[in-house]
């Protein structure tokens, strides 16, 4: 069957990848397994090595060491045109001298697919990305979103074993980007190809992926499902990069974790040693009465500034030790009725199960 990749989706095994440009190390001993049919996102700031890893996967950049296995077959020295990997480029890289049809037919032509079958498969791919009837258009007559779809159709029309995407939505405006995120996600569900997606947009990564690998300075900091990554970051970098966080220093002694002389109630296991900080997400904080009750930790604070944002408000508060934390809540009428005023002393509460500690590097 055409354009059904579920059976042919293959796992990728990346191990021990090293890449240096001169004396600068870009990737160091990087290993990563992608399951067959998985949507995995490489997330990281610019310079973290995520695009370099993608280029090594596609074969455009030669690694200094390491192994890439696709379905058990080593491809690290295979030239790009033999890898059979589809790729969507950041700027789409559509061929400006060909129309939409010939752009999408290009990979089929290289594979010597018959004219009749090419026409049929291109038609089907156009249908899949909702561009039916635009085959004769020139590339420069297309909008950004349409180019994006052509690039996508071209990358999947030859039923590749793996699809790579290098920040494919970064050139689109916000609403179109959010729309395409859902569309890409659905397309992946329908076709089931193993997908490696690169982005620096954490929200995009969380929205689309089965798993997210957070990269920093050439290493993978943490690789997990989006929910786990957000709720249980393992390092300060991950906590800071994904979502908003305030970091509150805590002390680990006498078999307990202490903040400002109060023992923290928490569900996670206690860290054994070392300096740690508590990761506080703005939406995990709420205003409570001053007494500490049940499984809630109370943090006395003073209100600095309250900013109204329409659907929600943000309250900047200063703890006793001078650290600033952020509280965010939706503008329901009961919340708005007791909105704190600047300078007012308040008590912030955080549930024991929301207490997350990470090592303070």
């Amino acid at each position: 069957m055409l354009l059904s990749l579920a059976q042919s989706a293959l796992p990728i095994g990346i191990s021990g990848i090293e890449k240096r440009f001169g004396a600068v190390s870009i990737l160091s001993d990087l290993s990563l397994d992608v399951a067959a049919g998985e949507f995995l996102t490489l997330l990281g700031p610019s310079g973290s090595g995520k695009t370099t890893l993608l280029m090594i996967l596609a074969g455009f950049v030669r690694a200094n060491a390491g192994s890439i296995k696709v379905g058990g077959e080593e491809i690290i020295t295979m030239p790009p045109h033999k890898r059979n990997i589809g790729m969507v480029f950041q700027n789409y890289a559509l061929f400006p001298h060909m129309n939409v049809f010939h752009n999408i037919a290009f990979p089929l032509k290289q594979r010597r697919v018959s004219t009749a079958e090419t026409a049929e498969r291109v038609e089907r791919a156009l249908d899949l990305v909702q561009l039916k009837g635009l085959g004769e258009r020139r590339v420069d007559q297309l909008s950004g979103g349409q180019r994006q779809r052509v690039a996508l159709a071209r990358a999947i029309v030859f039923e590749p074993r793996i699809v790579l995407m290098d920040e494919p939505l970064s050139a689109l405006d916000k609403s179109l980007r959010e729309h395409m995120q859902i569309e890409l996600r659905n397309l992946h569900r329908r076709l089931g190809m193993t997908t490696v997606y690169v982005t620096h947009d954490q929200r995009e990564a969380i929205t689309m992926s089965d798993r997210v690998a957070v990269m920093n300075a050439g290493r993978i900091e943490q690789i997990d499902q989006p929910e786990v990554l957000y709720a249980r970051p393992k390092t300060k970098f991950v906590a800071g990069f994904i979502g908003e966080s305030s970091f509150i220093p805590v002390e680990c002694r006498n078999g307990g974790v202490w903040h400002e002389g109060n023992k923290l109630r928490m569900k996670d296991a206690m860290p054994s040693s070392g300096r740690h900080v508590m990761v506080v997400r703005p939406e995990k904080l709420r205003l409570i009465a001053s007494e500490q009750t049940g499984d809630i930790n109370a943090l006395p604070a003073t209100v600095g500034d309250v900013i109204y944002q329409g659907d929600s408000f943000v309250c900047y508060a200063t703890l006793k030790d001078g650290r600033q934390v952020i509280l965010r809540d939706y503008c329901r009428s009961d919340v708005l009725a007791r909105l704190p005023a600047p300078g007012e002393p308040i008590t912030l509460g955080i549930d024991a199960q929301d207490v997350v500690l990470v090592a303070d590097q």
Binding site: F60, P79, L94
Partner: protein
Amino acid sequence: MSIGSVSLDHVGRPDRALNADKLSADARREARGLFALLSPGLLLVFAVIIVPIGWLFWLSLFDESDQLSAANYARFFEQASYIKTFVTTFKVAFAVTGACVLFGYPLAYMLSQLPRRAAGVCLIFVILPFWTSVLVRTYAWLVILQRKGLVNTWLMDIGVIGQPLPLANNFAGVVIGMTHIMLPFLVLPLYASMKTIDVDCLRAGMNLGASPAATFRQIFFPLSLPGLASGVVIVFVLCLGFFVTPALMGGGKVIMWAMRMEQTTSLYSNWGAGAALGVVLLAVTLALLGLFRWLLGARATGVWSQR
């Protein structure tokens, strides 16, 4: 209600629209001001381009006895030597353009693939000949190519040839000398257009299954064609009116259009005939430019069929 009807009144009668007269007067004043700024340039163009060409055209309409006649143009069809010159000019222009493409394309390709700094150094070597007089370079070629020149001496010394090769004072000499002079005019626009080809397009080609050679043939080459075409046009048009090199390297055997003009005016003092040659050369050149433009325009806006 009354406010609404008043504002509708304004929409209905533009003459009463707010400040409409002042605004259109302002627009006219601005247009006049800009035209005044433009006028020195327009005057110069008129004085040094329009007037001389008009004069040339006027001159070409008079025969040797200053009588108004079409004799100067009729000569093109009557005299075999005119037709021969015409054919020679195009033969040389085609040969030189072909040789420039043959040498220039790989050179421009290499420059476009080099790292920025290395490309900068190599570009200096491409441009360097521009800073030397055409006359000096042509004489240098004579020294190299003549019967007892460097090339023939060396080749005979190492025993490759027994007789000197006829490299100068003939068609081959003209083509060699002119190719050297024309090469930068092809390489520079071609290099510029190759630099604009997106590396990701080539990567995409390979990613989609095209071998490096196939990617070059199907992606890089077609995308470099606009630059190649403009280089070819420049070289071809410059060749049509070239004088120094064919005059020196041709040994009097290769008579091109511009040399014919020189003979007509300085040897025979027939300004009318010389002017007619100039007018025809101008017309042919413009026609060629129009043809190229038409082809290029179709290429730039149309979609190439892959079949």
